[in-house]
Subunit: 343 residues, 2 copies
């Protein structure tokens, strides 16, 4: 039995999560899902973001499936720091996993890249760096104001995520890991990342390695995304690079992610990369594929890799069958995918 | 008379700078150029990166034209921190200006973007943020190692670069400024940037404004680069975004940049975004267009805007006339451009 906490959230969140649950129920008997009401709506209603009691309850689940939270009227940082990042840190989700594939049938924006050619995964560090919240300011709202943001990096944190990246690469066909950082400017953190990368690489002679500065990687993701297999990078660089990778593979409407605690000491969380998209919410036209692919990552993490593969195959069939210009209906896509996984 | 310090540098640097000088000499009478030997070659030979005496001499010029410095055998950071960033900070070059145009005749990587549709300029802050060098580490090479990098931001530094961006937008047709930051995570620095942006925007009711998180901007630069006019952002975000902007407009072979001290208290520096490209150095096949466009930025900064426009027109004609697949010769391109500006 899999105990899944479901945070449907705001905007299109509930619409796409409903389809992901449909597919999960179809592929896995005995999913026990519990809904948690968190996000912008709850904050507006009660002022609460993530009560301690809810955090404790979430901790008792095998995994969390999240739709999307937020709306434009919530001040920046409230739900990000108070909910999303709080969960990543509280549950030590140090592997922020973001695969990008250019699926057959999907027209990406790049003229010279053919479907099937891009299949990369970014292993983004999830618990350190500039996301540590180690900033402050002085003399606010005066001409003398200063504001700082500190990137905190530990050997512990860097090594474990790099190890995860090498382990993933070892299970893939191309067996290549690219480290992305900015060693020529961020010399202290960059050196820690580079030395740790080299040390772990030495234990994996079967995995090919390369290093790129983040600006170069941002460029190559556009001009040559085919070259990447596994990319490992820090929290903020990963945030940016995964949006580029999503953009070149058909957009965030298709991009899945997992915030993973690989040891399973805490629940991992799975969510589409897209936001709550208030502009299209309630119309039944949101693409649920990113949410469904996130459910596939969830299945994989819980050890149901055969079920995960069936979900991916269903998505592949769905995308290959799409006719450009035809508006999709969220429900119908969910129904087709659910039917496909049991077929 | 314009006194230009020329740092040709390493690899293809001297090859492309020679063409930029050809064009400068053709368009402007009385350029007095002085060569400075700086870069990887000098460092290998003497161990020197930027002697104080050279820094003092450079300060006496109207502008600096730089080719490219570096080679793969110089440790990361040596030339970046010791030369490039040293100059940006010593000469208070707080506007790092990076225009990106998809020139007619250039085949960009994006299938749905037509030449002429993209014409944006990134105003990247050049003297603050994570480039301040405010990092350190403890317990190096032990399991307890920690490494930090601190982003330092001042109202002074943020306001002046935002003012520059609005002034530039006011002189352009679309009159729009996009602020890019990550206010939802970097709440202290993000708030300083956002509040300062709003304050300056209030003084420019004729300029349209928008805000985007850096991850979203990275995505939209790929999916909709047409939407940008002037983008203002911090030092590191600007580093990454300008490489994406270069990638979608034909690559860094065409990307120019200026590190500008707008008040002219110190010399500004102009350089192609590309590196020294040791793999093609000495073959006479490097594209000098980025160096020549950097010279146009230099002319503009020194008040020769009519000459700058002639250089840009020559580049436009050159690029429109290129036949895909034909290898260009650096010298010939320089000759054609120089001939065009005097025609
Ligand atoms: C919402 C925000 C805090 C988050 C991040 O920056 O990590 C988002 O951009 C993401 O990539 O998951
Ligand atoms: C070489 C490096 C220090 C530099 C930077 O990071 O600014 C480069 O990438 C650039 O964009 O000019």
């Amino acid at each position: 039995m899999a105990r899944i906490a479901v945070v449907a959230g705001d905007g299109i969140g509930p619409e796409v999560v409903a389809q992901a649950r449909k597919v999960l129920d179809a592929v896995l008997p005995d999913v026990q899902a519990t809904e948690y009401d968190l996000g912008a709506a709850r904050w507006h209603r009660t002022g609460e973001v993530l009560p301690d009691s809810v955090l404790a309850e979430l901790a008792g689940h095998d995994a969390i499936l999240l739709g999307a939270v937020g709306d434009p009227t919530v001040p920046p940082g409230v739900l990000e720091r108070g909910l999303l990042l709080k969960l990543r840190f509280a549950f030590d989700q140090y592997v922020n996993l973001r695969p990008s594939r250019l699926w057959p049938g999907v027209a990406g924006p790049l003229g010279n890249v053919k479907p099937g050619e891009v299949d990369l995964v970014v292993v983004r560090e999830g618990t350190e760096g500039l996301y540590a919240g180690a900033g402050g300011s002085l003399h606010r709202d005066t001409p003398a104001e200063v504001a700082t943001e500190e990137s905190l990096n530990t050997r512990h944190g860097v090594e474990r995520v790099i190890r995860d990246a090498f382990a993933r690469a070892g299970r893939r066909e191309r067996r290549k890991v690219t480290l992305v950082h900015k060693t020529n400017v961020l010399t202290h953190a960059g050196s820690l990342w580079a030395r740790t990368f080299d040390a772990v690489a030495a234990e994996h002679p079967d995995v090919a390695t390369e290093y790129q500065h983040v600006d170069a990687a941002a460029m190559f993701l556009v001009t040559q995304p085919q070259r990447y297999d596994v990319v490992v990078t820090d929290n903020l660089f990963g945030d940016i690079l995964t949006d580029i990778a999503a953009a070149v593979t058909g957009g965030i409407g298709l991009a899945a992610s997992g915030c993973i605690n690989p040891e399973g000491a805490y629940p991992s969380m799975f969510e589409p990369v897209h936001g709550s998209a208030p502009d299209i919410a309630g119309q039944g036209i949101a693409d649920p594929v990113a949410a469904v692919l996130s459910a596939a990552l969830l299945l994989d993490q819980l050890g149901h890799s055969e079920s995960a593969a069936r979900v991916n195959a269903a998505v592949a069939a769905e995308l290959a069958s799409r006719v450009p210009g035809v508006t999709l209906r969220t429900e119908e896509v969910g129904d087709r995918l659910a039917a496909h996984v049991v077929a």
